[in-house]
């Protein structure tokens, strides 16, 4: 017996499965896979048994089924807990870039209006700077600086949401490196499942693409010690001589944490406790 999307063929006789597109789609999903080249569907067979009227009708019905299948698969892929987190994190990082760029431009603009103003030797926080500029500028510059201020508020709110969502989606990774860094890790891996499939050594250099490829292609540069995980305080605060080791241990523990997050979907306190102790120990200077 050969099974096709439109029905079964037994000893040269075709039995159409009937039903509407949704029923046929359901059936297609239940069919077992096959790659026998002699067993591909033939529209003439489908016509001969009344599954469809002619070739046009064959394609039309097949299309209806394929649309349903595709729409269902898209919905499944988008229903993952991490899907929205990826978009949120991407927007957050891009917001940072935009705010920095605009603040720099606005400051230069402001300086042409106020020649006596300089940021040199004055530790002005970017936020304070924007507020000052917006208070003392009118017209378009005033509006631009006002918008930067509002963008910063949006950024703060979004960062909190990302962190909360990361705690919920990946409690173990977030416990080790914090929600924001954990979210950036799955952004670079492309999702929680791809991250959980990565070995620790790959997680360690995730996000250090340029350095890694320059090392791989020419071998003239040293291998990068850390990618995104550098943003975690225990890595960037570690003394230079143990920083690579901290990154390695942290990445190895993150690989386990990601798998716990994917398959257990809950925090594992005893694992986190042991992992934290191990990471702290790696950071101790001998």
């Amino acid at each position: 017996m050969q099974s096709y999307w439109f029905g079964d063929v037994v000893d040269g006789t075709c039995h159409p499965c009937g039903g509407d597109a949704a029923a046929i789609a359901e059936r297609v999903l239940s069919l077992d896979a096959g790659t026998d080249p002699s067993a591909l569907p033939d529209w003439q067979v489908a016509v001969s048994c009344g599954a469809c009227r002619d070739r046009m009708d064959y394609i039309r019905r097949l299309r209806d089924v394929c649309f349903l299948l595709a729409e269902r698969t898209i919905q499944e892929k988008y229903s993952g807990r991490d899907v929205e987190l990826l978009q949120m994190t991407r927007t957050l990082d891009e917001l940072d870039t935009v705010i920095n760029l605009l603040t720099g431009l606005a400051a230069e603009w402001y300086q042409t209006r106020h020649p006596a103003f300089s940021r040199k030797f004055r530790r002005i926080q970017a936020r304070t700077l924007v507020r000052t500029m917006s208070r003392h500028s009118g017209g378009a510059l005033g509006r631009v600086t006002g918008d930067i201020g509002r963008l910063s508020e949006t950024r703060t709110a979004l960062a909190r949401e990302v962190s909360e969502r990361a705690d919920e989606v990946m409690p173990n990774c977030s416990a080790l490196v914090g929600g924001l860094v954990a979210a950036r890790l799955i952004l670079h891996a492309g999702g929680l499942e791809p991250l959980a499939r990565l070995p620790g050594s790959a997680i360690q250099v995730l996000g250090a693409r340029a350095a890694l490829f320059s090392h791989l292609s020419a071998r003239s540069t040293p291998c990068p010690k850390h990618g995104i995980i550098f943003q975690h305080r225990r890595v960037h605060n570690a003394p230079l001589q143990v920083r690579g080791r901290v990154a390695r241990v942290l990445a190895a523990k993150l690989a386990i944490a990601a798998r716990l997050d994917l398959y257990r979907c809950a925090a594992a306190p005893e694992f986190i406790e042991r992992a934290q102790a191990r990471i702290d120990a790696a950071g101790a200077v001998p």
């Binding site: 099974s3 080249p37 569907p41």
Partner: protein, 201 residues
């Protein structure tokens, strides 16, 4: 295929991706589409009315829409959800596109849906591009054409494109079932991209 003053066009409803129109003909830009770039090379690749095409790596459906303008039916396989949403939108307006959301590396997933075809077009950028192309030859009629768009940089960034290319040709020839008929680099339209054209035996 239709050429007007040396410009490749196809006949169909425009506005799929903001393409330029010449009257009611859609300009098929070789800089945007690798298949168009191949048609500008002298390799004798022709899309003819009545052809059935299996298109792997359909992405947003820009090239697919042009192929559909020329042929009887296009089975367009794509795995990523974001491009698939666009592809579905293109397919809604072109009734000879059959959109299939599946992994081109696993043809058994859609073997129950796709009939024997005259052309398999492989544009999936994966390190094992050749294996994907060979696996999908089960859909190819005897004498049908397999076009493999080899993105040498996706196969291996460290090796020379020419080495990756000759390796792929050798593997296709050794794979069985197809004869390598012709090949072409797609410069100046696309860099480090080569097309390998095979005939099914």
């Amino acid at each position: 295929m239709i050429r007007i003053d040396g410009v490749l066009v196809s006949r169909g409803q425009g506005g799929v991706y903001g393409e330029r129109m010449l009257g009611d003909l859609r300009v098929w830009d070789p800089y945007r589409s690798k298949l168009a770039a191949l048609c500008y090379q002298d390799t004798g690749v022709e899309l003819a009315p009545g052809m059935r095409v299996l298109y792997l790596g359909a992405a947003h459906g820009t090239t697919v829409s042009h192929v559909a303008d020329y042929t009887d039916v296009v089975y367009a396989v794509e795995i990523a959800p974001r491009p698939m949403q666009d592809l579905l939108e293109v397919a809604r307006r072109r009734t000879n596109i059959v959109p299939i959301m599946a992994d081109a590396a696993r043809p058994e997933q859609y073997a129950r849906l796709v009939e024997p075809v005259d052309m398999v077009y492989q544009d999936v950028a994966q390190p094992d591009q050749v294996a994907i192309a060979l696996a999908n030859c089960i859909f190819l009629k005897p004498g049908g054409t397999l076009i493999l768009m080899l993105k040498t940089r996706s196969v291996d960034t460290r090796r020379e494109p020419a080495a990756v290319f000759s390796d792929a040709v050798a593997r296709l020839a050794a794979g069985g079932g197809v004869l390598v008929r012709d090949s072409a680099w797609l410069a100046p339209y696309h860099h480090d991209h080569a097309a390998i054209i095979c005939t099914a035996t």
